[in-house]
Structure formats: structure tokens, C-alpha cells
């Protein structure tokens, strides 16, 4: 049942998203691009928080690291945007391993505070113009546009379609992760990492893997972000952003539809109801409390990882806990 819905819903979603720019003026195109980019970040957060169950409140760090990698390579070294993409995925992933390594054994709230700490250190380092390449509090601006030969007239839509392609790639990766041994191991880790360890899952390696993967995907979103605004600045990657991504994943229920809904409510609705802009977080705060009271597992709770039919008895579809 769920699978059938997915088979129809995913292609439908991408067809709608692909046709969307035809209906939007340039302001709404920016909103749509932002929506796609933040969805990617929220999905990357979901790999760490929702799937592996690690309280990570520093995802904006990796998002920012990707954006800054692209910006520095493009503005200071003249690399084309597309060429910076692999680096902007690898550097955050590498830092994900490096930072997660020593703190991965921390549990729950301690991990949460440590990741907040990393995020704050990152923002302050960037603000203080570390190494003289990050441009200080103003950031870096005047980046090149992403372009392909022969598609010059199409340049206006490029950031949107690039972001959409990245989203497609992200969903593809997450989909494969769900039905792989790695994904099942992560689900198991989230439920009980002691039990997971005792049946032979290397908890440390899997946790670091989840961190690195989330970081790499967030870094890719960072490239898209730098490409869309042709600029990066420190406050866009503040830990308050991490708090928002964290909340989106939990309120949404760490499922793809829930996260899409969460990002839409958090970033698109305020654009529609501009007159309520100052009331935005006040209302979101209440919404977060009431959602958690009424639906503690989120608006659209994820089912336990997709277990191949061969592993389940008598075709029980979803072995929900």
C-alpha cells in the first residue's frame, strides 16, 4: 500500500516540481529554490537524527562548510561552480568524520550540546576571517553563475534545476539507504545501540558513517545555496538554523513527506503571509509545542526501515517496532 503510493507520488512530485518555474515569477522562483535546498539539508539532518537517532544540532555547520568551500574555490581560485561540487561534498564529509570521531560515544543531550558547540565555533571562525579567505562578517559575494555550454539563455532557471537535481540525487540515496543493510543497521542503532552492538553491528563505524553521509549531502546543498545567492555569509549558517532543521525533522516525523511539509511551513508559508512575518517564530513555537503534545512522534511518522519481503514472515508489510 505504502509502496504503491510512493511509486505514484515520487514521479508526480518531480513532474510538478520540474514544471513549477513556468508558473513562477523571479521572486517565487527564489522561494522555490530555497525550499528545495532547505529540503535537502533537512533530509541530510534526518539521516543523522531521524535514522541513526543521534541528537545532532549542528547541521548548519556542514551546510555552511559546503557553501564556503564552493565560494572560496570560486571567488579566490576561479574554479567553475560545477567543479567545486565534489570538493564541497568531500570536505564536509571529511569534517563530519573528523568532528564526529571523538564525540560519537556521547549520548543524547551531551552530543546535542557538543554539536551546538561545533556550530558556534565554525560561525565565529568564519566571522573572524579565518586564514583570510572567508571574508569576515560580510562573507563572500560575486560568485559566478552555474552554466552549461549551450544553455546560456537558460541561466535564469539554472539554480532551481541544479537544486532540484540535487534533491533527486538525495532522495535516491536515501531510498537506497532505507533498503540497504547500512540503513537497517542505522534504524536498529536508533532503537537500541547496545542491542545493535551485541548482534555484530559496529556501532561506532555506522554512526560516523551516518554523520559523514549527512554532512556530505548538506555540503552539496551548500553549493546549491552559494550558487543561488551568488554569495555566502556567516549568519545563514548560525546554529539557530540548525535548531530549525532539527525541529523540522522531529515535527515532521522524520519521513520524507513530513519533512517536505515541515520545510514548506517553516520557509514558504512566511513568504506567502508576509504581513505576519514578525509573528512567524512566535506562532511556530506554539505549533511545535502543540504538535509534540498531540503527536509526539511527529506529524507524519516514519515507518521502521523497509525490510525486504524475504526477511519478513507472512508478508507483514511494515514491521513497526
Amino acid at each position: 500500500m505504502m509502496k504503491k503510493i510512493q511509486h505514484i507520488a515520487y514521479p508526480l512530485f518531480f513532474i510538478v516540481m520540474a514544471l513549477l518555474p513556468a508558473l513562477l515569477d523571479s521572486r517565487w522562483l527564489v522561494v522555490a529554490t530555497t525550499f528545495v535546498i532547505f529540503t535537502i539539508v533537512a533530509l541530510s539532518q534526518d539521516i543523522v537524527l531521524g535514522k541513526a537517532g543521534m541528537f545532532n544540532m549542528g547541521q548548519a555547520l556542514f551546510f555552511g562548510l559546503g557553501a564556503y568551500t564552493t565560494a572560496v574555490l570560486n571567488a579566490k581560485f576561479g574554479w567553475p561552480i560545477l567543479a567545486t561540487l565534489p570538493v564541497a561534498i568531500l570536505i564536509p564529509a571529511f569534517f563530519g568524520i573528523l568532528l564526529a570521531g571523538p564525540i560519537i560515544h556521547l549520548r543524547g543531550d551531551y552530543l546535542l550540546v557538543a554539536t551546538i558547540g561545533f556550530n558556534i565555533v565554525f560561525v565565529q571562525a568564519v566571522q573572524n576571517n579565518l586564514g583570510g579567505i572567508t571574508g569576515g562578517p560580510n562573507g563572500i559575494f560575486g560568485l559566478d553563475m552555474l552554466s552549461f555550454p549551450g544553455l546560456a539563455s537558460f541561466e535564469h532557471f539554472m539554480p532551481y534545476y541544479a537544486a532540484l537535481a540535487a534533491l533527486f540525487f538525495t532522495l535516491f540515496v536515501i531510498n537506497n539507504l532505507e533498503s540497504s543493510m547500512m540503513g537497517r543497521a542505522l534504524h536498529y542503532l536508533r532503537e537500541d545501540d547496545l542491542a545493535a552492538g551485541s548482534i555484530g553491528i559496529n556501532t561506532r563505524v555506522h554512526k560516523i558513517f551516518a554523520f559523514a553521509m549527512g554532512a556530505g549531502i548538506a555540503g552539496m546543498a551548500g553549493t546549491m545555496y552559494a550558487n543561488q545567492y551568488s554569495a555566502v555569509s556567516p549568519e545563514a549558517f548560525d546554529f539557530i538554523q540548525s535548531v530549525l532543521f532539527f525541529s523540522i525533522v522531529i515535527v515532521g516525523g522524520s519521513s520524507v513527506p513530513g519533512i517536505l511539509l515541515g520545510v514548506f511551513v517553516m520557509f514558504v508559508l512566511p513568504e506567502i503571509f508576509r504581513e505576519f512575518a514578525t509573528w512567524r517564530y512566535f506562532i511556530f513555537g506554539f505549533a511545535m509545542i502543540f504538535t509534540m503534545i498531540l503527536r509526539p512522534r511527529g506529524i507524519w511518522p516514519a515507518k521502521f526501515g523497509r525490510i525486504p519481503k524475504a526477511f519478513t514472515e507472512k508478508g507483514r508489510e511494515n514491521g513497526q517496532q
Binding site: I103, G117, F118, F282, F284, G285, M292
Partner: protein, 294 residues
């Protein structure tokens, strides 16, 4: 030496705020993200009480009035948060409570913004500027008052928790809520009590911040709240003397970094210190090693 005095002053404020975090964490195992915003709210309520309700003239009576009104108002706000945002989630998954706490924090922070606007406000000068110079070190009356009052409150709290019946019940609930309940302790009342005490201490901390730094903004709660929380972790979270020690150490650390290295790097160094402590000794300086089951 000058940095020592400054460090102890801001350290006392961190310690007062940290107590609110550590007590709530000790009993509920929940980071009360809204606590920092209660502290910020306290500065604004104090400003409001002083200029709108008590006429804006400084006298001993007025200063005491400002403190009394603000403490009561913030304690009530803390009580309300506990009732609305935390109590319904007592048995819910851990992450739900964390998000609810974040939601409460956003509500208070933006509530302040909607009431007072996003601009910086200047806190009134309630304590006359009297400055002594002792051997080349400048000490103001306000710094002395902040340190002495904080010390009295902290010692008072320590004695309350260690020596009274309610204090024993608080410690029992922190160790094991179910066992405490079996011993006839009303854990819900205990949680209300710690929220009232924690918010009151936070309110005093917020007024001190207003007095000491003068400029107050609606979003400063996150900053001071995080610092205080770091202090609580450094001292060993859930441990009341630990929070006091952690607050003072963090204040000194901060003052020395700002004084001798660079104030623009103060946050980064503070959090690097935090991460190092979490790696080396996750239970903090005075914390006991407890096996935690998430």
C-alpha cells in the same frame, strides 16, 4: 587582577542561571531551552516594572520592588511553561520534549520581541555608580553586590536542598523518580518547585545582566542561556555545587580570554573548552559517573 574581578562577577551571573538548568536537568533529564529566554524576559520585565509601574525614580524601596515583582512574574512564567509545554510530554519520547522546549523558547523570545520590539533597550541604572580602587584594581559597588547576593542565594539554595525535607525530596526525585514516587513523594509538585526556584534565580540573573551590561535585546537569552548551560555541564550537570563552580570558572575563563586574547574569539574558545571537557570528562568536574540509558 582586574580580569579576576570581572570574571568573578560574570561568573556569579552564569552560576545563578546555570542553577536553573542543572536543577531541571537533574530531575527531568531535559534541557530547558526556555530558561535562557526567561532570563532575557526578566531584564525586560524589570525594565517595565521600573519605568512604568514604579515611576522611574531610584530609591532602595523601588529597587527592592523591581526585584520582587520581576521574580514573581518570571517564576509564574516558568510555572506556566512547565504546565503547558513540559508536563504533557512527561512520558513522551525524549526528542519530543526537546522540541517542545525549543518551541517554548521561541514563543518567549518572540513574545518579548512583539511586546518590546527588536531594538536594543537600555536598562536603568538602579545601583549608584560607586567605584573603589584597591591596589590598581577597579571594583564597583554593583560588582560587589552581584557577587555577594549571588553567593548568598547559592549558599541558601545549597542549604535548602541539603537540609530541608523538600530538598531531600528534590534529591530523591533526581536519583529515581519512580522510587521517589513509591516513597510518597509527589514528583509533580517537586518539578513545580524546581521550576519556581530555577526561574526565580534566573530572574535575579537576568536583572543582574541588565544592571551589568545595560544593553538588553530580545534574543540575548540564547547567548546567556548557552553560556550558563555550558557552565552547568562543566561543573557536572544535575549537580548544584557543580553549577556554581562551573559558572565561576567559565566567567573567569571568559574574562581572561576577552582580556588577554581577543573578545571576538571568546565564544569559540568557550565552546572548544566545552567540547574538550565533554570528550575528557563528560560528567563534568563534580559530576558522578552514572550509566545513562537513553
Amino acid at each position: 587582577m582586574q580580569q579576576l574581578v570581572n570574571g568573578l562577577t560574570i561568573g556569579s551571573m552564569f552560576a545563578l542561571i546555570a542553577l536553573g538548568y542543572t536543577m531541571v536537568y537533574g530531575v527531568m533529564k531535559l534541557i530547558n531551552f526556555a530558561h535562557g529566554d526567561l532570563v532575557a524576559g526578566s531584564s525586560f520585565v524589570g525594565l517595565f516594572v521600573f519605568s512604568q509601574m514604579l515611576g522611574g525614580e531610584v530609591s532602595l524601596f523601588v529597587v527592592l520592588g523591581v526585584f520582587a515583582f520581576t521574580i514573581v512574574a518570571i517564576a509564574l512564567l516558568g510555572f506556566t511553561i512547565e504546565r503547558l509545554a513540559y508536563r504533557p510530554l512527561r512520558t513522551a519520547p525524549r526528542l519530543s520534549a526537546v522540541v517542545s522546549a525549543l518551541g517554548a523558547s521561541m514563543v518567549i523570545q518572540n513574545g518579548i520581541m512583539l511586546l518590546w520590539g527588536p531594538q536594543m533597550h537600555i536598562f536603568p541604572e538602579l545601583i549608584p555608580t560607586i567605584i573603589w580602587e584597591v591596589g590598581g584594581v577597579v571594583v564597583s559597588l554593583m560588582q560587589v553586590l552581584i557577587m555577594v547576593l549571588s553567593m548568598i542565594l547559592m549558599v541558601g539554595l545549597y542549604l535548602f536542598v541539603e537540609k530541608t525535607k523538600i530538598g531531600t525530596a528534590i534529591r530523591a526525585s533526581a536519583i529515581d523518580q519512580d522510587a521517589a514516587r513509591l516513597m510518597g513523594i509527589n514528583v509533580n509538585n517537586i518539578i513545580v518547585t524546581i521550576f519556581l526556584i530555577g526561574s526565580s534565580l534566573g530572574a535575579v540573573g537576568g536583572l543582574f545582566i541588565g544592571l551589568y551590561y545595560r544593553g538588553i535585546t530580545f534574543n540575548m537569552g540564547w547567548q546567556y542561556g548557552l553560556y550558563a548551560f555550558v557552565a552547568a555541564i562543566i561543573g557536572g550537570i544535575g549537580n548544584i555545587p557543580g553549577a556554581m563552580l562551573g559558572g565561576l570558572l567559565l566567567g573567569l575563563f571568559n574574562a581572561f580570554i576577552a582580556g588577554y586574547i581577543s573578545s571576538t574569539w571568546a565564544d569559540a574558545f568557550t565552546f572548544i573548552l566545552l567540547i574538550v571537557i565533554l570528550i575528557v570528562r563528560p560528567t563534568g568536574i563534580l559530576g558522578e559517573r552514572v550509566a545513562e540509558k537513553v
